[in-house]
Symmetry: C2
Subunit: 411 residues, 2 copies
Amino acid sequence: MSSNRYAESEALLARARRVVPGGVYGHQSPRMVVGGAYPYFFARGDGCRVWDVDGNEYIDLMCSYGPIVLGHRHPAVEAAVRRQLDDGDCFNAPSRAWVELAETLVRITPFADWAAFAKNGSDVCTWAVTVAREYTGRRKVVRAAGAYHGAHAWCTPAPAGVTPEDTANVLSFPYNDLRALHDLVAAHRGDIAAIILSPFRHDAFHDQELPAEGFLPAVRALCDQAGIVFILDDVRAGFRLALGGSGERFGVQPDLACYAKALANGYPLSACVGREALKEAAERVYFTGSYFTSAVPMVAALACLAELEATDAIAHMDAMGLRLQRGMLQQAGSHSLAVTYSGPPALPFMSFVGDEKFARSRAFAAACAQGGVYLTPYHNWFISAAHREPDIDQILEITDGAFTAVRRLAA
Amino acid sequence: MSSNRYAESEALLARARRVVPGGVYGHQSPRMVVGGAYPYFFARGDGCRVWDVDGNEYIDLMCSYGPIVLGHRHPAVEAAVRRQLDDGDCFNAPSRAWVELAETLVRITPFADWAAFAKNGSDVCTWAVTVAREYTGRRKVVRAAGAYHGAHAWCTPAPAGVTPEDTANVLSFPYNDLRALHDLVAAHRGDIAAIILSPFRHDAFHDQELPAEGFLPAVRALCDQAGIVFILDDVRAGFRLALGGSGERFGVQPDLACYAKALANGYPLSACVGREALKEAAERVYFTGSYFTSAVPMVAALACLAELEATDAIAHMDAMGLRLQRGMLQQAGSHSLAVTYSGPPALPFMSFVGDEKFARSRAFAAACAQGGVYLTPYHNWFISAAHREPDIDQILEITDGAFTAVRRLAA
């Protein structure tokens, strides 16, 4: 592998390490990619393609870790953004788009009567828990062990700087384990404000796990019996599986749902939608940020949702995901490599069986990057509406070479 | 006052109330303005002027509650934004601007060796406290009573949904009360991770208070003696008083400083800058968000800081603020109205003496809105670099009428 291919990325990372803790932190940390065999900085995106700062082109299977659902620089979204920029973005109060976007989310979401907006997934997941506390007068929140609901201290994956008080009211159970959840609720009867779940298990560093048959409806019934608020954390999957939220895909309706990522095709926006019964509590829980009402991300979201609604984008992402899945499983088989391909086709993840330290996954991702496909070894991938059949087929040409590289590693 | 002047604002608010808790929440809530005499939704901004959805024009004295420091749609910032939009905004990893902005902040900030980026002021204030905990191995954080350091549960101004655990590690003392602070630190010796302060007292619903002579240096010395991390919350004032942070203006250098607002002239970005000693702890504290690395706000910040550095913008805001202050104090005197005009000239606040329920402030703000000046009765105002002498003089023509309205109210 040529060391020059990522020369500019590496030079920028060296500069970044001097002036930023870790150089790049969080889910985009260089720790999450493959040292020396991967770009660290990007310059441009268009449709399903991205270019790094060295000018290397990739078919993008990460979609900025989810936000890019229609493809980079989608014409309808960009046109709406530029129209709004002609008037401005950040004002003393919201723009008309604030109302129109809330009305749109209420219209397309089966259970929702209202919407609230913020910037990050963390903002809305933490706020939803707080609203549930205010509504129920209770303190505890139940989540699936290892699930990510934002970077805030109550659920951060890293313990650094976290106090015992930060996590004192957080209870965990194994995802899909209904008996464990029932036991937990019984043990804390009257104390549990909320159960927060993603629509399927998509923890980083793990194979994904779909909800077991009947699991989510049983959670819904348990919440109804015990007076618990059911929060669906749809930050990662929202709008890729169903227009009305991933609950629609899995046959369940929560009380509150959290969105970010795909909501505005990459523009900074998150949202929480909820039932009428929770609206007064929601009004009492303080929620604000300097840019919460900014107009540009909201017109981007209106354009993005309109495109998702008017086209077959969601079905198309599923179809393209299935095409990728079929192709990669066939290739793995032909290379005699045992893999686990998990999650919904539009948000897939693949791991190598027995590859506990992800050595094969890293080699696979590095070979993909070298060949011109961007994916990561530890976190699920994302299909966008801009991925067409020729793109998927081009990905598969490159992954075939990557499987060959992994087979050589194994040999 | 014509009821038709705000007809479209009121129609939109009625729609908003159906689909958003409170219609608009947080610092832009209609509760923060004057019912029936004020616009609730904005359509456009240009320089120091804004237009509401009814087409009414205002000279903007709120600057979107701080972010607009160069004026709405500043040409240099907008050009940088549009160039970046041609390439895209939100990628799988940062852009080159991530590095350049961190280097710029380190260069212009006397004490800072590194920078980290997020979206909201809340993000960076809470993270800074967590970094201080990780660095010191201690739990407690000290703040001034009533100070706002973001909407997160540990310091939200509203108790709804907040648990006792959320605030268990938060200690308060009266701003500027050095003896009380010393007593607090003595009582919790070895337990205090951080003292977080704004550079001056700018709590909403209060007159502003500048740091007493020697107060901030004494806090600095106390932190050094007791091994406490000194965090300057410069989210609201940052880049309006000094290019190197408001500590520069008040003769003190913290260990960590938090910015948002004026950093990117309205584009969604916040930052925490810090000393080398805290960098390793900062690297360990998990920090991420879907849009933390987005390029557009970072090129906006680079353009905004370059403009602040290359021009006399900061001195100009001070001069325009002084012109406004002199004019308004003279007017208040000539109307025989006792007022308190407080805070630095570029971030002023005016209240009426004895007006404990803000009735005069509300009447004043309503008359200003009617006349074409946008300011709020409960929260400090903001001057931008786009306010020129004729704008200030036009404001003063309108405030003269507003003082007349208040005098009639009093009579």
